[in-house]
């Protein structure tokens, strides 16, 4: 039962077995999904060089998963502060639309990208200000931009798909550098920078403290609003870069569809990775694994030929399985059931003695 026993970070305690590690089950599911694909596509795990760059399903998963990983990284920081950002999808759309619009108007690549990224950060700043200065609940504060942002993106594209032709822009999200997809390099760098910033400085600790107990954090003199704004700006930045990737992948900006529902996927990735939506403790590695699970799941659906109408059922089942495996309560229940015959419950014994 252990009802009041809080879910602890078992990994941090001595004696935590491998299966107790927070990342054990998500990684297991990821591996299982990858292996399942081999059944449908025997060459699934193979990676070879084609046209001078890496080629293979795994590369595709990383490439197409790159924007999601990025957005989920930003989302992790926001969630750690106890917030959530629903507007990332809109930011993705705005950033891609801005960049493509500027490029199509003949502006330079650098200028266009800079403008798009700065705009995304400003959107993040807006969210952060609504949350901290006006004290609006994050979900609703970012809902405003989620609704309006897509309108802004369409305004930029005039509701059309802007198609551009720029080989160097394509590099960001759809091309290869030294044989590696450049998007993956961006993600790795972003991840490394985030990890260093949060774990090598005190940023991570302070954010976890604010997310864990805002009042206590105020009373130790942590400038919570600054940190929270920073988290939203960072999230905006990640979404902005992801928007560049998505639009660069197809060399087009689709104000209406780019990043549609990516906020849900990102939140899902964060949670599958073991970060609680209530804020506090966060795990960047977990988020990456979570995002990869989602992307692999999508790929599995395509390649396994699951009919589109049942796709959602399949996704629901997988998500539920991951969550259940991650739940200590569930595992306890399973193992207790298995053990039951050998150890009779205590009560029966005592009742025999006394009754």
């Amino acid at each position: 039962m252990n009802r009041a026993e809080p879910r602890s970070r078992l990994a941090a305690l001595p004696g935590g077995a491998l299966t107790r590690h927070t990342l054990f089950w998500p990684v297991t599911v990821l591996v299982a999904l990858l292996l399942a694909n081999v059944i449908f596509t025997p060459s699934f795990l193979s990676i070879h060089i084609r046209q001078g760059h890496l080629y293979g399903s795994l590369i595709d998963i990383l490439l197409f998963g790159a924007p999601l990983i990025l957005v989920a990284l930003g989302m992790t920081m926001v969630i750690a502060t106890g917030g959530v950002d629903l507007s990332v999808g809109a930011t993705v759309a705005i950033s891609g639309a801005l960049a493509c619009y500027l490029i199509s108007e003949g502006h330079g690549l650098f200028v266009s990208i800079t403008v798009a990224v700065v705009a995304s950060m400003l959107l993040g700043l807006w969210n952060g200000l609504l949350v901290t200065r006006l004290g609006i609940q994050p979900i609703i504060a970012t809902l405003i931009l989620m609704v309006a942002g897509r309108g802004i993106a369409q305004l930029i594209t005039s509701g059309q798909i802007i198609t551009i032709n720029s080989a160097s822009y394509k590099m960001i999200g759809g091309d290869y550098w030294l044989g590696m997809p450049f998007a993956i390099i961006i993600v790795v760098v972003a991840l490394a920078v985030t990890v260093v910033l949060t774990r090598r400085t005190a940023l991570g600790l302070l954010v976890e403290s604010v997310g864990g107990n805002a009042e206590a954090s105020r009373l130790v003199g942590i400038r919570a609003s600054g940190l929270i704004i920073l988290a939203y700006v960072f999230c905006g930045l990640c979404a902005g870069v992801a928007g560049l990737m998505i639009s660069s992948n197809t060399l087009s900006a689709d104000g209406n569809h780019a990043g549609l529902w990516i906020e849900l996927d990102a939140i899902l990735a964060v949670v599958l990775g073991g970060t609680a939506l209530t804020g506090g403790r966060f795990s960047l590695a977990g988020t990456v694994v979570g995002a990869l699970i989602i992307q692999t799941l999508d790929t599995t659906i395509y390649t396994a030929g699951i009919p589109p109408r049942t796709t959602l059922v399949f996704e629901a089942v997988v998500v539920t399985i991951v969550c259940l495996l991650q739940s200590p309560a569930f595992r306890a229940k399973i193992s207790r059931r298995r053990r039951r015959p050998s150890t009779p419950p205590l009560t029966d014994a005592k009742q025999e003695v006394t009754a």
């Binding site: 449908f40 596509t41 060459s43 699934f44 084609r50 046209q51 293979g56 399903s57 595709d60 197409f64 369409q154 005039s158 509701g159 059309q160 798909i161 198609t163 759809g174 998505i246 992948n249 197809t250 060399l251 087009s252 689709d254 209406n256 569809h257 780019a258 549609l260 999508d298 790929t299 659906i301 395509y302 390649t303 030929g305 009919p307 589109p308 109408r309 796709t311």
Partner: protein, 303 residues
């Protein structure tokens, strides 16, 4: 009492058309909206435009508000086929004629005046027919990948239905994989990339709209194949980017689905207002393009 005040008081002689659009979910839809707005302007009709963000309930509410505003004619592109009886009856009770555009409804035809628009099943059939003709001599199986539109949406369901019905006549035409690409380029590319790895000899791609086709085309190129040759591409819509691809030989065939209904709509509205009878079904002028026709048509393409 003030039955004739018609909308905002900008002159009661002007016809007021309340139009409820589905949303702005695609470039096609935007072209549709623009066409309607432009035509209303030239025809001297006052347009009350309301965007439903792809939600039926919003559209019903908008139509209700048009009734309250006592517009002269109500026009709308239904988000879905069913479920309009109640509000259409209200309109009828308020003696406001209703004109449907783009998509049909399954209500009692007495509840609306006419329906102007294309037929999605027919579009699917046209695409299928081209395939059947193209491969009528094929001896071995032709492997087809189908990229469907958003799951559950009317165009996706109908185009799939029409297409599969026609190709069913030739047992060699085999759909080896059919996945949803959500009508978008990004998703079209992503899905195609995965499907190309899972399915070896793919001969044909049928995409429910140009955008998915364009995305898939990139995936084909990145897999080292030549679109239009190694894999033939058939799509529906004929937006400018699609026509460009077709004229460059990367697409093979496009079935047009025209969004330019504005003039027809305004003409009909005027007739209805004038009390003339109009046909129950006005079919839009639509054609099909192969590579040669695309080259001709491209320079004058508006959307």
């Amino acid at each position: 009492s003030d039955k004739d005040s018609g909308g905002s008081g900008s002159g009661s002689s002007k016809i007021v058309l309340g139009f409820s659009q589905v949303g702005a979910e695609s470039g096609w839809r935007t072209a549709n909206t623009k066409s309607i707005q432009a035509s209303a302007g030239t025809a001297g009709i006052e347009l009350k435009f309301s965007d439903a963000q792809q939600k039926q309930e919003n559209q019903i509410a908008a139509i209700r508000s048009f009734i309250k505003q006592k517009v002269d004619v109500i026009g709308f592109s239904p988000v879905v086929v069913t479920g309009w009886d109640a509000v259409l009856k209200e309109a009828k009770a308020a003696k406001i004629p209703v004109v449907l555009t783009d998509r049909a409804v399954d209500s009692d035809p007495s509840l609306y005046v006419t329906f102007i628009g294309s037929d999605f099943v027919e579009e699917g059939k046209k695409a299928g027919q081209w395939l059947v003709d193209e491969y009528k001599d094929a001896k071995e199986p032709v492997n087809i990948i189908q990229l469907e539109g958003t799951v559950g949406s009317a165009p996706a369901i109908d185009r799939k239905k029409g297409f599969e019905e026609v190709i069913g006549s030739n047992p060699n035409l085999k759909v080896v994989a059919s996945q949803s690409g959500d009508f978008t380029r990004a998703k079209g590319k992503e899905v195609m990339q995965a499907l190309l790895k899972a399915n070896k000899d793919v001969d044909v791609l049928f995409a429910h709209n140009d955008d998915m086709g364009l995305g898939a085309m990139q995936a084909i190129e990145e897999a080292g194949l030549t679109p239009g040759k190694d894999i033939k591409i058939v799509t529906i819509d004929a937006v400018k980017d699609g026509m460009t691809a077709l004229s460059e030989g990367k697409f093979n065939y496009i079935v047009e689905c025209s969004p330019l209904l504005g003039d027809q709509l305004m003409a009909t509205v005027k007739k209805v207002k004038a009390g003339e009878t109009v046909e129950k079904r006005i079919v839009t002028v639509e054609t099909v393009f192969d590579q040669a026709k695309a080259k001709e048509a491209l320079p004058t393409r508006q959307y």
